[in-house]
Symmetry: C2
Subunit: 414 residues, 2 copies
């Protein structure tokens, strides 16, 4: 029978075998005393199985509160645990409850993080996955051979639909590929969702009629289910190509329902991610996280950026991009969204470390505050990526490309 496997990074003051067995027990048939009806046959069929335990190191201080070691020793290990597909079938929320449920409460652990997960081939028959993915998003925007260049409407909140549309016009004329609402803006007092869609799509459609290039605008549909579906239909009716969902805030069932509509590329925003990941020994790592959303059907997912304004290390960002670009069950293509403090100066390093242009590269201030205006900002970003693919350094690129040189002058010291 097919099995789902999860890999955890754990810390425990107990014997590693015993601690792993507690996790497997809790997540398949756990209670604190043996109960009638728990037969050997049932255990064989439905029990979680500890597949491997690799001791990594032993430390003297626990990472998070839990059981206290009498010897002052906390053992860290990588463990693999598997469950039969018979336990929950093809049900993503119940898979999450199994792989990421009560196990975080187990006192025997002083650290527990879900690092990765593997699903069996039959998942491909049950989950359609991203309808657009990298190729689909390239087709919708007409961009080949370089990253899609995108920006976020700023200020995040407070602009009217008309002001937003004017900015979209400027950006479209500047040659932008992608624009998104901020995750803080869905429908605000001075920018009702439907009015914003009408105002923005008028500009986007006009520009497409004139130039043949349709800017992809990700409207933030995040809300309760019925509202999200109404908003989705509104975007489709207005000729839009993309909707944005705040994945953690909406949740897995809601995000999948939106993805299942299949007419718009879904931009998956991971705001709230820091809560799930920032501690090194608690929560979930991105390689596991992004697989859940690919199964749900998200076409684009945020991965932060090199030299970002947040706390995350470049190594972690690189691992996230690599995770997205690795096919899942031979497909489930998802476009990594590089964002946070980006202005083009990070392009050479991003390319050097990932060797890919299959990215949606997002800059906010890096485009809008360019000395030559947004047009200069978009040109500078394209130049940055052209230079990056040629293998030029930031300094070499600045010598060759004047608009990029101005970005370096303005943002280079940040």
């Amino acid at each position: 029978m097919e099995r789902i496997t999860a890999r955890y990074y754990i810390e425990t003051p107990y014997d590693l075998e015993k601690a792993a067995a507690v996790l497997a027990g809790e997540q398949s048939s756990g209670t604190f005393v043996a109960v009638p009806g728990e037969t050997e046959e049932l255990k064989q069929r439905f029990a979680a199985r500890v597949e491997s335990i690799t001791h990594l190191e032993t430390v003297t201080e626990p990472a998070i509160p839990g059981a206290v070691s009498a010897k002052g020793q906390y053992h860290r290990a990588s463990i693999e645990v598997s469950w039969s597909i018979e336990n929950f079938g093809y049900n993503l929320p119940t898979m999450v409850s199994t792989l990421q449920g009560n196990l975080y409460e187990i006192t025997q652990f002083t650290g527990l993080k879900l690092m990765d997960l593997e699903v069996p081939a039959s998942f491909a028959d049950h989950f359609k996955g991203p309808r657009f993915g990298i190729e689909g998003c390239r087709k919708l925007t007409g961009v080949e051979g370089r990253p899609l260049i995108g920006t976020i409407i700023k200020p995040s909140i407070g602009m009217t639909p008309q002001q937003t549309a004017e900015l979209v016009k400027t950006l479209a004329e500047a040659g932008i590929d992608f624009i998104k609402d901020d995750e803080l803006l869905s429908s605000s007092a001075n920018s009702p969702f439907e009015e914003r869609v009408d105002a923005v799509m008028r500009v986007v459609n006009d520009h497409a009629d004139k130039t043949g290039k349709k800017v992809m605008y990700a409207f933030n549909v995040s809300d309760e289910i019925d509202s999200m579906l109404r908003r989705y239909d509104k975007v489709v009716a207005a000729g839009g190509t993309c909707a944005m969902v705040s994945l953690n805030s909406v949740g897995l069932a809601g995000a999948k329902k939106v993805c299942d509509q299949g007419q718009l590329a879904i931009h998956g925003h991971r705001n709230g991610w820091g809560m799930l990941n920032r501690h090194p020994l608690l929560g979930i790592e991105f390689p596991a996280y992004q697989k859940l959303w690919r199964l749900a059907g998200v076409d684009q997912i945020h991965v932060n950026g090199i030299q970002n304004k947040f706390w995350e290390s470049d190594d972690s960002v690189v691992r996230s991009i690599e995770a997205c670009l690795k096919p899942m069950l031979g497909g489930y293509s998802v476009l990594p969204v590089v964002s946070s403090g980006q202005w083009g100066g990070q392009a050479p390093e991003t390319y050097r470390r990932t060797q890919t242009t299959d990215l949606l590269y997002m800059a906010g201030g890096g485009i809008m505050a360019h000395p030559n205006g947004p047009t200069g900002g978009v040109v500078a970003l394209r130049q940055a990526w052209e230079a990056a693919v040629k293998g030029l350094s930031v300094e070499e690129a600045a010598a060759e490309y004047p608009e990029f040189a101005k970005s370096v002058e303005k943002f280079g010291s940040k």
Copy 2:
């Protein structure tokens, strides 16, 4: 204009005022450089406002990775931040993205936890909240003046619908008020959801016909939206009174859609909660968390239990029960579900510290593995609560109640 207020526990190596201002900026109009269009008027209307900062202590080691202090000083404080209702209206996912979004990524913080939140009175016009709550769940089960006594079907996974129904029959005859699926079981290979509903409800309805008492069975409907609604309808059609949702795994939009159906009491399981809460300076505290789910309409929510088998302290459990029992906007009644390692011995302490019987008190092994069988287990739990309300200690209760005395013998050393 009405405002939403959030209280955070923060840690930062920076000046507290500066760090709080970064948070407020990031969560209303943040980018790393000033951009055109960001007028003073817009800022006034849509900017988040730091309402108060209370310094608590200064420590020498950061709680989580982030900015490093040159002086080796990390300041901890309680801060309050508010947003105008104009920013996102009545949209729970976007409220979550605002209160719990990218702020966890901010490098200036070496600790950040959402402690509580306050919503304005107008929320009551837009969110119906729990349809049943404490009074509704009491009416559905016919239980007054004491906690509802409940149990979980164990083993968690692997029993057939027929075996489950037989166990339900035993428990119903033993006088149980409430039974639930384990969160690991939705539809398994040997217990398809619909077959389980049919088998269990036949027993529950028969028992109700004979005795007038309908046991509340919480069927775990957790899945994607369409499946959850189909399962919900199945439970309604079979005469059931309750559905269970794994809140974190399904997510806010999905859970609200289920609650909105309004025909079943919704049992909110918080599995995965440890990931959001276990670190003292990362994530969210229960007083804030439970408010989100009450707004979504959850009727019952898990709070762990005194002397539980997990890592959580009794103090934290007591605070969670108190949070649930505090009316929100004058209502939004939610029944706290006490669970994890409970067998009745914790009843006196639970009552002493909370002074309430408005609880769903759940025991798994504590009922099923009672020396006199499940009947003895249910009787013992009712006795434990009778004794608790009388103010008896565990020892005094054991002297007065023979079934409870047997529980003490079997489970008392655990």
